[in-house]
Symmetry: C2
Subunit: 477 residues, 2 copies
């Protein structure tokens, strides 16, 4: 199907990529306080572009945390309204020394602190654009996919004489990587303003290269930090070893009992509400082109895969709840030896949840169990960094059908429906608060190194995303 | 007993303290590469002073690590020869934000890196000298006690017309906090040069304020770092949680099985060679003025004390081997949430050993057990940061008797014989290689915060130390 919007996008590919690089240069790390102004900068950068291409009512909305971004274009009477979502915040880039090119495109785009960080820059020897990929923090998660949405709108405006084929509302956020508290609050308060017929969420991936994919399920997340306190001050492990409680060892004792060696979570009642996928869904997953050995070798790169026995890899990562530990601040972690019994220590522990598990219920069970496991002489406190439920969206609607048609036009293949083990809490809010279905159409690849060093976005997929969104909206218009 | 050396020391007290502060200003942290030149600076500082007071053959000896310092004065024919030991290196000062005064006396004596460290300086509101104490890293461990030795020699030189009552050799080191490899090697090679009748080691403490104390036993130390490797790169815990191995969780599983909840080490054969203290020694320990409740509240400051049931606190910390974890580098440890399954992680784990346990044997057992506990899909490697056996010195010799007399002159009380849970590997080398007994005469206090924030040295004890060494050497002369 010929589309002047697609034609426009094709003839502007290199400009689109250059602009994306400018967005990637802003180190908008939402989890680090010192980058607060960079998140604001990224919001302003996107807002300026939305104004330039023709969107109305562009608003950078201050919040308690990082700003939200709203815009709309509502001059297609009788046509459906889409609420477009993406996020312009990113994960921290560390470990810095494992990047092969600068995590923010240029060496000087990111102020690195201390000798160690300076030294790590010496490993950044490759260019950020190579092998038809852009390598940068946020390349695929989610600035590249946000920019896909913006560039699709630009192409549509250009091809339709300054108009769009459907009504468009945009809500972009800068807190996706820190729990998305502000957007959740805003959606709750601004139901009328955000009301639409469906949401388009570009923050997921293709199941395999060249395989058109829609994501219809996400796991939820409860991300905590267990803080443990022992003696009143750090103590010498020679003088006090054998008498003083060690909060770091206490955390090891506690966390070691949260999960068994095979990956089964041991928190009482943890699995009690878990809803299994339907038989049809499980059957469809079995037909997906998935080679466990290839996945182990090329994606994970470990000697064996782990996880609950009796469940397939896709089942385990998409539809079984899990528990992980991400880091343990405290004590002495620099190179060398310090014989300290730390007075306090902490552990970042998160749980992924599946449909029907209630984050508050899980958090309550987790907290109670941690307290129960806390050894004598140690005090534990639990801090919650992020909390959101799982969600599964229906596939039986007009919007999903139009999306699969657009994907077919681009890829010449039938779309597969998958879930993702990750979490996009806002999709649940769109469903529960705004009562609209989400189309989760993402163009990342399984080996794009999300949240890891050398994150990338395959450039042809960036362009395919733009074209697919153009076709999708034209079909609905 | 009147002593002109003691008189000289008393009339120079404030100068001695001022000089000590200058030594404390040098951040000679042996465990951190970036402070290598500061350890050298501390060595030079002490060498200059030894030359000034009249010592001969002062030598700053380069090593593969930090320099050693040798000096002698051998013009007391027929008199005994002492080998004086102390160290001028210190532990890292972190956590910086818990210091109430600058860890190196002045705010600008220590180059702190990054915003966080800069912010921690704002908590340094008190002066380094207060409550009759000097607060600084190394105040008591061991620069203050090193300076005691130097100032005793200066006082003796002054009181005895430029001579000393006995022959003196000095060997000071800058690697005590990192395992003391260079001094061990040097002692092995320079037996004749270092040969003496006994060693004086000032790196221990009084059992209680105003209670003269000699330390006659030390625990050994094996300090390791277990490195664990899983996937080839950091992975997103949503996408891969349930399939990818987590090396941080693997370390938790491993370390959780190294010790039971009551503090018993579970490494097979760990206790097999342990030699218990004699009945007489155990009886003497029972007579020491030790109040467990007071120790728990004021020294440890925890709700309960921990450790193996059936052994007293002194027994557990002095004569039972223990295992501690000091820090777990890896993953995400900054404030906030990063949903990462780290590709690698590490844990600093050390063991204190008691007499008759062989560090190499313990390390072999530890390594084998860690390998056995390492879960599938994870690779572990063990790095050794430090290794030295325990030691117990005899009390039935002329030097110990003269030391107790000198202590009686200063404190007007009988000396108690104790052990320490800490490790001074060189004492074992003096005994095994040079075949000389050590007099471990230290003037720290149990609440001096060794290796912890707000380390201090009680100034009256600094002066008592100088006077006692003067009297001790005069008695032997």
């Amino acid at each position: 199907m010929a589309s002047p919007a697609v034609d426009f996008a094709r003839s502007n590919q290199s400009r689109f990529v250059d602009e994306l690089k400018n967005l990637l240069r802003i180190p908008s790390i939402s989890t680090l306080d010192e980058h607060k102004s960079d998140v604001q900068k990224a919001a302003d950068f996107v807002a300026d572009e939305l104004r330039r291409i023709g969107m109305n009512n562009v608003e950078v909305i201050p919040t308690k945390g990082h700003p939200l971004l709203y815009a709309d274009w509502l001059h297609a009477p009788g046509k459906p309204t889409v609420l477009m979502y993406a996020h312009y915040d990113v994960q921290p880039p560390d470990p810095l020394n494992e990047w092969k090119s600068p995590p923010f495109v240029d060496k000087d785009a990111y102020s690195v602190k201390g000798d160690e960080a300076q030294a790590s820059m010496q490993g950044w020897t490759l260019p950020p654009e190579r092998n038809n990929n852009i390598y940068a923090r946020g390349a695929v998660d989610d600035k590249g996919q946000l920019w896909m949405e913006v560039k699709a709108l630009e192409s549509l405006f250009h091809a339709h004489d300054g108009k769009l084929p459907i009504n468009v509302k945009i809500i972009f956020e800068g807190e996706e990587e820190v729990g998305g508290e502000s957007i959740a609050e805003y959606v709750g308060k601004q139901k009328a303003k955000l009301k639409a017929d469906f949401a388009l969420v570009c923050d997921t991936e293709l199941f395999a290269p060249n395989l058109p994919t829609l994501c219809v399920g996400l796991r939820g997340l409860v991300y905590t930090e267990i803080e443990a306190f022992g003696a009143k001050t750090d103590l010498h492990s020679g003088v006090y070893g054998g008498a003083a409680p060690n909060p770091l060892f206490a955390l090891i004792e506690i966390i070691g009992k949260l999960k068994d060696a095979k990956g089964k979570v041991l928190i009482p009642g943890f699995y009690s509400k878990v809803k299994a996928p339907s038989k049809d869904e499980l059957k469809a997953w079995k037909r997906l082109p998935f080679n466990e050995e290839h996945y182990r070798k090329t994606e994970v790169g470990s000697k064996v895969l782990t996880g609950e026995p009796g469940f397939s890899v896709l089942y385990r990562t998409w539809a079984r709840p899990t528990l992980e530990v991400h880091g343990m601040p405290g004590g002495f972690t620099a190179p060398g030896a310090k014989t300290v019994i730390p007075a306090k220590a902490a552990a970042k522990v998160s749980m992924r949840m599946v449909p029907n598990q209630d984050p508050d219920d899980i958090l309550k069970r987790f907290t109670a169990y941690v307290k129960k496991l806390t050894p004598k002489g140690i005090e534990t406190k639990i801090k919650v960094w992020s909390k959101g439920p799982a969600c599964v969206v229906g596939t039986d609607n007009h919007f999903i059908r139009a999306a699969t048609e657009a994907l077919h036009d681009t890829f010449k293949k039938d779309t597969v429906f998958i879930r993702s083990g990750g979490s996009i809490p806002i999709v649940t809010d769109f469903q529960d608060v705004l009562k609209i279905p989400s189309v989760m159409m993402g163009f990342g690849l399984p080996d794009d190194n999300l949240h890891a060093p050398n994150e990338k976005f395959h450039i042809p997929n960036f362009h395919r995303g733009i074209e697919t969104i153009c076709l999708f909206f034209e079909k609905l218009g």
